[in-house]
C-alpha cells in the first residue's frame, strides 16, 4: 500500500500528491442543495457536474440533482451565453425549481462569461418564469478549494436574496458552515432546545438524508426557503460557524443589511459547543435549559472517564480548515496531542491559529496549509503517531502504517455513520470519544497478547 512513499521529505513546489482538498464548484453545489427547491447549475463542461454529483452521491448515498451547461468546444470558444440560456429554459420547464443557482467552473471563468449579464438577458427574454429566481456564485477551480466554493455560494444567497425591510425581528441567522446534514439537524435541535428563533442557511438536512418511503421527490421537504433567505436581512444577529465557510456571507449580510455577526469555530467538543450555546444564549437572550446542561455534563463525564486512554496520544489529522480547527481544539481539550495537522486549502493565519491552539500541549506541532496527504504520510513515517483522523482517503495511509483511523470531514465514501449521527454539539463530542476509544480498543483487543487482554476498560 502506497509503496512509493518514503520518510524522506523533498520540498515540492509544483506537484500536489494525494490532495487534501478539491475544487470550488462542488462546495457551491453542496450549499445550493441546502436551499428548498433550488437547482444547482454548473456552468462549464458537463464533466464537472458529473464528477461533483458522483462524489456527493458517494458521500451522502442520496440523489444529488444538478444541471450543467454542457460546454463543448464551441461554447469554450464563443462563450457560454447560449448554453446557459438554453439550460435555464430547460431547467425551469422540466424540473420546475423555485430558484436556480449557477456556479462557474474553471472553464467558464477562463473564457470570462459574465453570469449576471446572462441572467439579466435571460430575464429579459422571458426564459426565467415569473416569480422564479436565478442567482450565481463565481467558483473558479483554480482559486481556493471546495470550502471557499461553499463560502462563495453562501455569500451569493446574501447578495441576491437577503433584504432589510427595516423591521428587525428577534431572529438569529445561522450559517452552519460545511457540515453534514446530521450536523445541521443537530444545530437546529440545539437552537430549538435553547428556544431561539433562527434562520439557518443552507440546511441540507432532510434534503441529503431524506427518508426512503418508496417515492422520489426531486426537491425533498427540506432546505432553507427563499422567504427565509430574504428575511435574514431583518434578523437581530448572525452566528457564522466555521470562519472559512461562513465569514464571507455573514460579513456581506452585515454590509448589505446591517446585521451584526459573530464568527465562531464549528461547535465541536465541549468548548466549541459551549461557545455556540453561549453565543446563542446571549444573542437570543435566553437561558440555557437544564436538559442541555445535562447533555453537556454527560459529555464531560465521558471525557473524564476515558481521559486515561486519550492522554497525550499523538494524532495526525487532515481535512478542511474549519473542521480541523474545531477538531484540534477538541483533541487538545480532551488531553490528546495533535502532532501533525494538514489542510489542502491555503491559510497562513490558519497555520498560526492551529499552532496557537496546540501551543500548550505540543509546541512542536507540524502544521501545513496548502499541503497534502502525501506530506502527512511522509511526516508520519518519520514521526510515529497513535491515531490518524481524516476523510476516507486517509485509510490508505492508515493501512500502510497500521494506524487506528477515525474518519471525519469530507468526503467519507466508505462508511455510513456520518449520515445519521452528528459530530457537532455535545452529542457529537460523545460520538467522537466513542469513535476514538473504539479505534484504540479495537486495536488492543485484536493485537495484544492473550495475557494483556482487558475485560474492563
Amino acid at each position: 500500500m502506497l509503496e512509493g512513499t518514503t520518510a524522506e521529505i523533498r520540498e515540492r513546489k509544483a506537484l500536489r500528491i494525494n490532495p487534501a482538498k478539491t475544487c470550488q464548484p462542488i462546495g457551491a453545489m453542496y450549499a445550493a442543495l441546502g436551499i428548498h427547491k433550488c437547482m444547482p447549475h454548473s456552468h462549464g463542461s458537463q464533466g464537472c457536474c458529473a464528477y461533483h454529483r458522483s462524489h456527493l452521491t458517494r458521500h451522502h448515498k442520496e440523489p444529488i440533482v444538478a444541471t450543467t451547461s454542457s460546454f463543448t468546444e464551441g461554447a469554450s470558444v464563443f462563450g457560454g451565453l447560449a448554453n446557459l440560456k438554453t439550460a435555464l429554459e430547460n431547467i425551469f420547464t422540466i424540473y420546475e425549481p423555485d430558484i436556480v443557482s449557477v456556479h462557474t467552473t474553471c472553464l467558464s471563468e477562463v473564457i470570462g462569461d459574465d453570469i449576471p449579464m446572462i441572467i439579466k438577458k435571460s430575464e429579459e427574454s422571458g426564459i426565467i418564469p415569473e416569480g422564479k429566481l436565478v442567482i450565481h456564485a463565481n467558483t473558479p477551480s483554480f482559486v481556493g478549494s471546495h470550502v471557499t466554493g461553499f463560502s462563495a455560494q453562501c455569500a451569493a444567497f446574501v447578495d441576491y436574496l437577503a433584504e432589510s425591510t427595516g423591521a428587525k425581528k428577534n431572529v438569529i441567522n445561522l450559517f452552519p458552515g460545511w457540515v453534514e446534514p446530521a450536523d445541521m439537524r443537530e444545530i437546529k435541535r440545539l437552537a430549538e432546545m435553547l428556544g431561539v428563533e433562527y434562520i439557518m442557511a443552507p440546511d441540507t438536512s432532510d434534503v441529503l438524508d431524506s427518508a426512503l418511503e418508496g417515492e422520489y421527490q426531486m426537491y425533498p421537504d427540506g432546505g432553507t426557503t427563499i422567504p427565509q433567505l430574504k428575511a435574514m436581512g431583518d434578523s437581530m444577529a448572525t452566528l457564522a460557524l466555521g470562519p472559512m465557510a461562513s465569514t464571507l456571507a455573514a460579513d456581506k449580510l452585515k454590509k448589505k443589511c446591517g446585521v451584526e455577526n459573530k464568527v465562531l469555530e464549528l461547535p465541536i467538543g465541549i468548548g466549541g459547543t459551549d461557545a455556540f450555546v453561549n453565543a446563542m444564549r446571549i444573542a437570543g437572550d435566553v437561558t440555557v435549559p437544564r436538559e442541555l446542561e445535562k447533555e453537556r455534563g454527560r459529555l464531560v463525564d465521558m471525557v473524564s472517564d476515558m481521559s486515561q486512554y486519550l492522554h497525550r496520544k499523538k494524532v495526525a489529522i487532515f481535512g478542511d480548515p474549519d473542521h480541523v480547527t474545531a477538531m484540534v481544539k477538541f483533541l487538545v481539550e480532551v488531553g490528546m496531542e495533535p502532532a501533525i495537522v494538514v489542510t489542502g486549502t491555503k491559510g497562513k493565519k490558519w497555520v498560526a491559529k492551529i499552532k496557537e491552539i496546540c501551543s500548550e500541549v505540543n509546541p512542536d506541532v507540524e502544521v501545513a496549509a496548502f499541503s497534502d496527504i502525501h506530506y502527512l504520510h511522509q511526516w508520519i513515517k518519520g514521526n510515529p503517531v497513535d491515531l490518524l483522523m481524516g476523510n476516507t482517503y486517509g485509510k490508505y495511509v492508515a493501512k500502510s502504517e497500521k494506524l487506528p483511523f477515525v474518519r471525519f470531514g469530507f468526503p467519507i465514501l466508505d462508511r455510513v455513520g456520518h449520515r445519521a449521527f452528528p459530530l457537532i454539539g455535545y452529542t457529537g463530542g460523545m460520538r467522537l470519544i466513542e469513535k476514538i476509544t473504539d479505534a484504540f480498543f479495537d486495536k488492543r483487543d485484536r493485537e495484544d497478547a492473550d495475557e494483556d487482554i482487558e475485560l474492563v476498560l
Partner: protein, 543 residues
C-alpha cells in the same frame, strides 16, 4: 415492454414535458426498436442539451479516468486545477496489482499541478515541468503521463512540448494527452484521444518475443471489480495467453509489448475500436468482438477464439473448460431463475455495458424492456455497418484521427487473406460489431443519453424489477423502491465477467430482486384500516 403503456406511448410521455427544441433533439435519441434486424438511425454521440440532467461526463474522464488511468505503473499527472485529479483518484475500481514488491502502484496516488490563478494568467508550462521533475525525483517511475484539463487548452499550455523536453531530460517515457473536458460531447472523445496516445507512445516499444502458443490481447476491458482477472483465469485454463489487457490491471511493459499478440479481441467496442483498427493496420493482427459478460456470451467468445486459432487441442480444451465451469454455474442459475424468470430490467449505462449486461439478464430469464448508452455512437447501437453513413460533426472533427500505415519491419499478417476469407465465409466475423439494437426485442425502448426525467417516467410507467445504471441515478431509482445495480462500479462488488462473475451477478440480482427492504418503506400506520394496524401491534408471545 410488459404491462403499462406501449413503448411508443411511453416515449411520447417522456418527451411531452420538453421545450420544443429539446423535444426535437431528444426525440432523435429515443427510439422504439420497431425493426431490430434493421435498426433505425439513432441520434447518438450528439451534444447533450444544456440544462438536461445527464449521466455524461467529459473527455478527461474518458481519457484519464477510463483508458489510461488504469495502467498502474505509469505515474499519472493531471495538469490543471485540483478537482479533476481528485475526482479521478481511485474512484473507478479498475483493479490492479503490482507484479513485484519493488514496484509502485501509482493508482493509489493522485498527482496534479494544482493550478492556481497565476498559472492561468501567466501560463502553466513551468509548473508542469517542475511537477514532472518533482514526480521523477520522488518516485523514479518508468513512465509519466500528463493529462490536460479544461483551462490548459484555453490558456495555450503546450503540454506535449513540455513532455518531450522532460522525456529527453529524464530519459524516461513521458507523454501527454490533450483531453480537455470540453472536447467532444462525452467521455467518448477522451477514449479516442487516449487510444491515439497509447498507440503513439507505447504500442510497439518493446519487441521482446513472448513465448506462448496462443497470444492475444483483450482490448476494452478495464478490470472493474476484477473482471479482467476472471477472463484471464478462464483463458489461462484454456491455454491462451493474454499479453495485454487494455487497460485493466495492465502494466506499462505489457502494453509496449502487446503488438506481439496474434489476435485482438474487443470487449468494449466503443472505447477501443480505434486501437484494434490501428493495430491491425500497423502490425497485421486481426480483431473481433467478444463478450465475456454472460454465460452464453462467454461460451461463444471462447469458442470463437478457439475457432480463430483452429487447433483441435485448443478447441477441445475450451470445451472442457466450459463443461467444468458450467458445473458450478448451472445449479446457481437454476436456483436463481425461480425468482428472476420473467422479471424486467432496464439498462442505461456506458458505451457497451447496456448491451453486454442484457446477456446476463437473459441468462436469468429476465427481459430488458429498455436500454441505452451514456456515450456510445451510432455503430454501438446499430452495428458497424452504419459507420460509413455517420456524419462527422463539429464536436468530433477536432479529435485527431491518426493515419496509420503498416510497420515496414513488424507488420505480419497473422491470417493470410485467403484464410481470413475462408473463415468469414463460414460465418466468422472479423472487425465487426452488430450493435445493441439488433439483439434487443421488438418494441423495446432504446434511449441514448437518457435524462433523469426520462428515467423517472420509465419507472413510473413500467416499474422495472431492476435497473442497471450509474452512481448518479442509483439513489433516485432506489428512492422509488426499485433496486438499481451500478454497472460502472458494480456497487463495489464483482467480478461479473466470465463464469464466476456470472455466478456473482446472478446471486446479486437475486438478492436485489428478492430483498424485503422495499416492503419496509411503508410504516404500518400508513394503512388506513385501523384493524390492520392493530394487528401489527399485537402483543408478542411471552416466553
Amino acid at each position: 415492454m410488459g404491462s403499462g403503456p406501449s413503448a411508443e406511448e411511453t416515449r411520447e410521455q417522456m418527451l411531452e414535458i420538453y421545450p420544443k427544441k429539446t423535444r426535437r433533439k431528444r426525440a432523435k435519441q429515443m427510439l422504439v426498436n420497431k425493426t431490430p434486424e434493421t435498426p433505425e438511425a439513432i441520434g447518438a454521440n450528439s451534444r447533450t442539451v444544456p440544462g438536461i440532467i445527464t449521466q455524461r461526463g467529459c473527455s478527461y474522464a474518458g481519457c484519464k479516468g477510463v483508458v489510461i488511468g488504469p495502467i498502474y505503473d505509469i505515474l499519472h499527472i493531471t495538469h490543471g486545477p485540483i478537482g479533476c485529479g481528485w475526482y479521478s483518484w481511485l474512484s473507478r475500481r479498475n483493479m490492479s496489482k503490482i507484479r513485484h514488491p519493488e514496484e509502485t502502484n501509482y493508482l493509489q496516488y493522485s498527482m496534479s499541478t494544482d493550478m492556481q490563478e497565476d498559472h492561468i494568467v501567466f501560463g502553466g508550462e513551468k509548473q508542469l515541468k517542475q511537477a514532472i521533475q518533482e514526480a521523477y525525483d520522488e518516485f523514479k517511475p518508468k513512465a509519466i503521463s500528463v493529462y490536460a484539463t479544461c483551462p490548459v487548452g484555453l490558456i495555450g499550455d503546450d503540454i506535449h512540448s513540455v513532455c518531450r523536453e522532460m522525456k529527453e531530460k529524464l530519459g524516461i517515457n513521458i507523454f501527454g494527452f490533450s483531453c480537455e473536458g470540453y472536447k467532444g460531447v462525452s467521455q467518448s472523445a477522451g477514449h479516442h484521444i487516449a487510444n491515439n496516445g497509447v498507440f503513439k507512445n507505447m504500442i510497439g516499444l518493446d519487441d521482446t518475443p513472448v513465448e506462448a502458443k496462443y497470444k492475444i490481447n483483450v482490448l476494452g476491458e478495464y478490470n472493474i471489480g476484477g473482471d479482467a482477472w476472471e477472463i484471464d483465469r478462464i483463458l489461462r485454463l484454456c491455454g491462451i495467453h493474454i499479453i495485454g489487457t487494455l487497460s485493466g490491471g495492465v502494466s506499462y511493459d505489457e502494453i509496449c509489448n502487446c503488438h506481439q499478440a496474434d489476435l485482438n479481441v474487443v470487449m468494449c467496442h466503443r472505447s477501443i475500436n480505434y486501437m484494434a483498427e490501428m493495430m491491425e493496420t500497423k502490425f497485421g493482427m486481426p480483431w473481433f468482438k467478444v463478450n465475456f459478460i454472460g454465460i452464453e456470451g462467454t461460451k461463444k467468445s471462447l469458442r470463437k477464439i478457439a475457432q480463430y486459432f483452429d487447433e483441435k487441442e485448443l478447441t477441445d480444451r475450451v470445451e472442457e473448460v466450459i463443461a467444468m465451469e458450467m458445473a458450478d454455474v448451472r445449479p446457481v442459475i437454476e436456483d436463481v431463475r425461480q425468482r428472476t424468470e420473467g422479471k424486467k430490467a432496464a439498462l442505461f449505462v456506458g458505451g457497451s455495458r447496456a448491451h453486454h449486461y442484457q446477456d446476463l439478464f437473459s441468462d436469468m430469464g429476465m427481459t430488458t424492456i429498455a436500454a441505452g448508452y451514456e456515450f456510445a455512437h451510432r455503430d454501438d447501437y446499430e452495428g458497424r455497418d452504419v459507420l460509413p453513413s455517420i456524419k462527422i460533426d463539429a464536436d468530433s472533427r477536432n479529435i485527431e484521427e491518426l493515419h496509420i500505415e503498416a510497420d515496414p519491419e513488424r507488420f505480419n499478417l497473422r491470417k493470410t487473406k485467403e484464410r481470413k476469407v475462408a473463415l468469414e465465409e463460414s460465418g466468422f466475423e472479423f472487425s465487426d460489431y452488430e450493435g445493441m439494437m439488433r439483439q434487443m426485442a421488438k418494441d423495446t425502448l432504446v434511449i441514448d443519453d437518457i435524462s433523469a426525467h426520462e428515467l423517472e417516467k420509465l419507472i413510473e410507467l413500467h416499474k422495472p424489477d431492476v435497473i442497471g445504471s450509474g452512481i448518479k441515478d442509483k439513489y433516485v431509482i432506489e428512492k422509488m423502491g426499485i433496486p438499481c445495480k451500478q454497472l460502472h462500479s458494480y456497487d463495489y462488488g464483482g467480478p461479473y465477467a466470465g463464469f464466476k462473475g456470472a455466478i456473482n451477478f446472478f446471486k446479486e440480482i437475486d438478492r436485489m430482486i428478492s430483498t424485503k427492504v422495499w416492503k419496509l418503506t411503508r410504516a404500518p400506520w400508513k394503512d388506513d384500516s385501523e384493524e390492520q394496524s392493530a394487528a401489527a401491534a399485537e402483543p408478542a408471545t411471552v416466553s
